[in-house]
C-alpha cells in the first residue's frame, strides 16, 4: 500500500484534485467539481446531464422531507402525462408566450409523421387544468390539492449549466385549487416556508423570501413568491424555488367553476409551486471549495467516512476491526457512516477522494489511535482535526455534524450578507453592480422602470433585474425616491444580475 509520501504521484495517476480554483475561474471550477465529485456526467446531448447516485441521494433526502410535509397538508401525489397537445398548451396566452420558445415538439413515431405535433411539458398547468375543470363541480370538491414528482423539458439555448440550467430537469410541481383567495394566499406562504426550510435547514444556504415584480412573475399568474439565493463568487442572484398564486386567470381560460354552499357559481383560486434539482447546483456553488464538494451533513448520503491507516508491522486487523466497530456504532445511532476498506488505495488517496466528494467528517484510525482507544476526526468544511475517545464517539460525532451544518450556514450567510449593498441613487446602483453586489434599493415598482434598468445595464455580464421585494422590509421613510426613476418609492427591492 502506498504511503503518504506517494500521495502526489497517486493523485496524478488518478486525476484526483481540481485544476481550476473557485476564486479564479468559477465556471470551470463548477464544471469540474460536479464531474470529479461524481454528481454529474456530461451527456452527448447538449444541456442534458446524467445525475449520478451521489446527486440522487441528496435529491431523495430532500424529497422524503418535502413529500412528508405536503402529505401532512393533505396534498396528494398524482402523475399526469409528459405530453400535451398544442391546442391545450396554447389556451392561456401569457403563459404560452412565456414558454413557447423553449417547447420541444414530438413530430414522429417510428418512421411515421404524427398527425399533429405534440409538445413535451415545460410545466403542467395546461396539462392538468382541463381535468381540474372536469373534477371540480361543487364546493365539496374543494380544495383540490395535487403534486407530482416528474421531469420537465425546456429546450433553452442560453448557456446550459449542470443543475442550474438544463434542458431536462427533475422537480416537484404542486397544483392546487381553492374556493377562496384567502385559502390560496395562505398556502402560497406555507409552501414558501417549506422551500426556505429546504435551502436553509437542509442545504445550509441563506435565502430571502419575497415577491417577484410584475415582469419577473410566472407567466399567466397573479403573483409569484420566491426564495432567492446569491452566489458571491459570480455576484449573481438565483431564484431558488417559486410559489405562485395564479389567481383566477387559468380558471377562466379552463373554465374551472364550482357551485358554492348557497348554490351560486364561482371560479376557483389556484396556486402552483415548484422546486427542482437546481437546489443541488446552488449547494455546490455556495459550499464547494478548491478541494471539491462540501456537503451539508443533513443531505450527505455518507456523513462520516472511516479510513483505516495501517502501517507496516502494525496491528492491521485491530485497526480494521476498530473501523468496522465505529461504523456499526454510528449506524446504529442513525448516523450515515461507511468505511473505506479498499485495497490498493493509500489512505492519502482516500482522504482526497472523500474530500472531493464532500463528506462532512472523516475518521482516521491508525496504530496510535488504536493504542489510545481514540479516533482522529477531520472536518471537511474547515479542515480542523480533533482526537476523540471511542467511548464518546457517537455523542461527539452527533454534535460535530450539527456544528458543521450550522457552521456552513453561518459562513454562507456571512459571505452573502457581505455582498448585500443598500443603495439609494442610480450612481450608487451602478457602482454596486460593478462590484457584483446584491443590491437593496427603494423602488417605485413600475414595470417600465424595470425595463429601463435592464436596458441601461445590459452588457457582456448580462443586465440587472429585480430579484424580489423582501417580505422583511426595512423602514421606508416618507419621501424616499426610487433609485432608478426618482419617483416616490413604494418598497425596498433586491436587484442584481442573476442566473
Amino acid at each position: 500500500m502506498a504511503g503518504g509520501g506517494k500521495k502526489k504521484e497517486v493523485k496524478k495517476e488518478t486525476g484526483l484534485g481540481l485544476s481550476f480554483k473557485k476564486e479564479d475561474n468559477f465556471g470551470e471550477w463548477y464544471s469540474e467539481v460536479v464531474v470529479n465529485g461524481e454528481m454529474i456526467d456530461y451527456y452527448d446531448i447538449s444541456g442534458c446531464y446524467i445525475l449520478r447516485p451521489w446527486t440522487m441521494s441528496i435529491w431523495e433526502i430532500m424529497q422524503t422531507f418535502f413529500d412528508a410535509e405536503i402529505k401532512k397538508m393533505r396534498i396528494k401525489n398524482c402523475y399526469f402525462p409528459l405530453f400535451v397537445s398544442s391546442s391545450v398548451l396554447e389556451k392561456e396566452k401569457d403563459h404560452v408566450e412565456g414558454f413557447a420558445p423553449e417547447v420541444a415538439w414530438v413530430t414522429k413515431s417510428g418512421k411515421s409523421d404524427l398527425e399533429i405535433p405534440i409538445a413535451i411539458r415545460p410545466t403542467s398547468e395546461t396539462v392538468m387544468y382541463p381535468y381540474f375543470s372536469k373534477w371540480i363541480r361543487g364546493h365539496r370538491d374543494l380544495p383540490l390539492k395535487l403534486n407530482q414528482w416528474c421531469n420537465v423539458v425546456r429546450w433553452e439555448f442560453s448557456n446550459p449549466t449542470p443543475f442550474i440550467r438544463s434542458r431536462e430537469f427533475l422537480w416537484q410541481e404542486g397544483h392546487t385549487a381553492f374556493a377562496s383567495k384567502a385559502e390560496a394566499d395562505e398556502e402560497v406562504l406555507q409552501i414558501l416556508e417549506l422551500y426556505r426550510c429546504i435551502y436553509e435547514e437542509f442545504l445550509a444556504i441563506p435565502v430571502i423570501k419575497g415577491k417577484k415584480s410584475e415582469m419577473e412573475k410566472f407567466a399567466g399568474g397573479l403573483y409569484t413568491t420566491s426564495v432567492e439565493a446569491f452566489i458571491p463568487n459570480t455576484g449573481r442572484g438565483i431564484q431558488g424555488a417559486t410559489s405562485h398564486c395564479l389567481g383566477q386567470n387559468f380558471a377562466k381560460m379552463f373554465e374551472i367553476n364550482f357551485e358554492n354552499e348557497k348554490g351560486e357559481k364561482g371560479m376557483v383560486w389556484q396556486n402552483s409551486w415548484a422546486y427542482s434539482t437546481r437546489t443541488i447546483g446552488v449547494m455546490v456553488m455556495v459550499h464547494g471549495d478548491d478541494k471539491g464538494l462540501v456537503l451539508p451533513p443533513k443531505v450527505a448520503s455518507v456523513q462520516v467516512i472511516v479510513v483505516p491507516v495501517p502501517y507496516k508491522d502494525a496491528d492491521t486487523q485491530g485497526i480494521f476491526d476498530a473501523c468496522a466497530d465505529s461504523v456499526d456504532a454510528l449506524s446504529k445511532a442513525g448516523i450515515r457512516a461507511e468505511a473505506d476498506f479498499r485495497e490498493n488505495y493509500s489512505p492519502g488517496w482516500k482522504y482526497s477522494h472523500w474530500e472531493m466528494k464532500g463528506v462532512p467528517l472523516r475518521i482516521e484510525i491508525g496504530p496510535k489511535d488504536l493504542e489510545k482507544n481514540q479516533v482522529r476526526v477531520a472536518r471537511r468544511d474547515n479542515g480542523a482535526k480533533v482526537d476523540i475517545s471511542r467511548a464518546n464517539l457517537v455523542e461527539q460525532l452527533k454534535n460535530m455534524l450539527d456544528n458543521v451544518q450550522q457552521s456552513l450556514f453561518n459562513t454562507a450567510k456571512q459571505k452573502r450578507d457581505a455582498c448585500i449593498q443598500v443603495v439609494k441613487t442610480w450612481d450608487e446602483f451602478r457602482e454596486a453592480l460593478s462590484q457584483k453586489k446584491m443590491i437593496l434599493a427603494p423602488w417605485c415598482d413600475e414595470e417600465d422602470v424595470e425595463k429601463d434598468v435592464k436596458e441601461r445595464t445590459k452588457g457582456e455580464m448580462g443586465a440587472a433585474k429585480s430579484l424580489c421585494s423582501p417580505f422583511d422590509q426595512p423602514e421606508l421613510p416618507e419621501g424616499t425616491k426610487c433609485f432608478a426613476s426618482g419617483k416616490p418609492a413604494k418598497r425596498w427591492t433586491y436587484w442584481g444580475r442573476s442566473y
Copy 2:
C-alpha cells in the same frame, strides 16, 4: 341526511355503480372501473392516461418496498436523460429493431427544427451503457449497480389500455454490470424474487417464474426471466415483470471492458430488469368485481374506512366521536384508517363509493353499535359482515386485514389454477386455447416451431405464443414429444394468448 331507502336514487344521481359486468364485457368493465374507482382519467392524447392519487399511493407503497430492497443489495439510484441521440440508440442492432417502430422523435424546439432528431427513451440500455464504458476501467469498479425510477415512452398503435399498454408509463429500470456471468445470473434471480414478492405478497396475484423463449426474450439480451400472471376472464397471460441477463452483447457494442486482478482484459456481464405501472392494471383485472375495485390491504392507501350511521334522534355526536376514536386507535397501531364524515352524503352512498374504490374493510357505527360498544365491519372482498367489540378493535382488524390479503391471493390462485390445462397434442392445445386456458405443454424449444404455432393460431382473438418455461418443471418422461412439432420435447412450457 338520506336514509337507506334512498340509496338507489342517490346512486343514479351521482353516477355511482358500474354499467358493465366483469363477466359479460370485460373490456368495458375494466375501462369503467379504473375511471369510476378514480385511479385513471382518460387524456386527450390517445394512449396517455392520468394517474390519479388513488393509483399513485399504490405505486408508492410498492416503490418504498422495492427501493429499500435494492438498496440492501447496494444498488444505487441515478437519473439518466429522457433523450437519446439516434446514433447511440442504433448501436445494438437487435435491440433497436425491437424498439424502433415505437420510438417517439423530437424534431423541433420552439419554431426551429433541430439539427438532428432526438429520440425519447423507450428503455435506457443505450442511454446508459456508453457511460458504463467510461466509468468501468478495472475490476475495482465492478460490480456497477444502478437503478432509476422514471417515465418511458413507447408509441404503440395497438389497442391502448390503461396501465397495461400505454404510450408513456412509469417504471424502475435496473442496469448492472459484473465481472462474471455467475454474479449476473445470481442477481437475475434475486430481482425476479422481488418481482414475485410484489405480485404475490403485495398485489395478492399468483405468478409463475420462468424463462422466456428465444422469440420472446428481450431484444439484444442473452436470456430473459419473468413472472407471468394470468387474467381468467380474457384467458390471456400477461408478462408481469422481467429480469434480463444481457450477457456480453451490449458490452461488446458499447466496449464495456475491464482489467481483472491479473491484468487481463475482460468484458463485463450485464443485467437489466424492470417492473412498471402495469402491475396495477393486473391487480385491477384480477381482483376487481361488479361493485368496482378490490384493493389488497397491503397496497391500499386506505385500509379501513369508517362510516358514521346516525339516525334521527340518535346520539349523533356520540357516533361521530366513536368513529374518530376508532380511526385514532387504528392509526396508532399502524393501520391506514380514515373516517368519512362528509355531510350531504348518505351512509348508503358512502358504502357504494368506498366499495367502488376497493377499500378492504368498512366500519359502520350506528346507534345500536354505540350502545353495545361495538362496530360492524364489512369485508370488501366477500361482503361478509361481523360485529366486533371496540375493546378488541385493533387486534381483530389486524387479523381481518391479514385474512383479506391471504384470501384474495387464495381466490385468485384457485381461479388461475382452474385455467391451467396440461396438453400433449396439437388437438388438445387447440381445444384448450379455444377455452381460454393457460396451457402447459411439452415443447421442443425450437424457434421455428414457435413461429409455426403463432402462424397456425392467428385470428381474431390473437395468436398464441409461449409465455414462459417455468423454473418449476413437472417431470418430463423420456420419449415425450413436442405438442406442436412431434419432435422430442425438451421442457414444459406455458402457452396462451397474452397481453
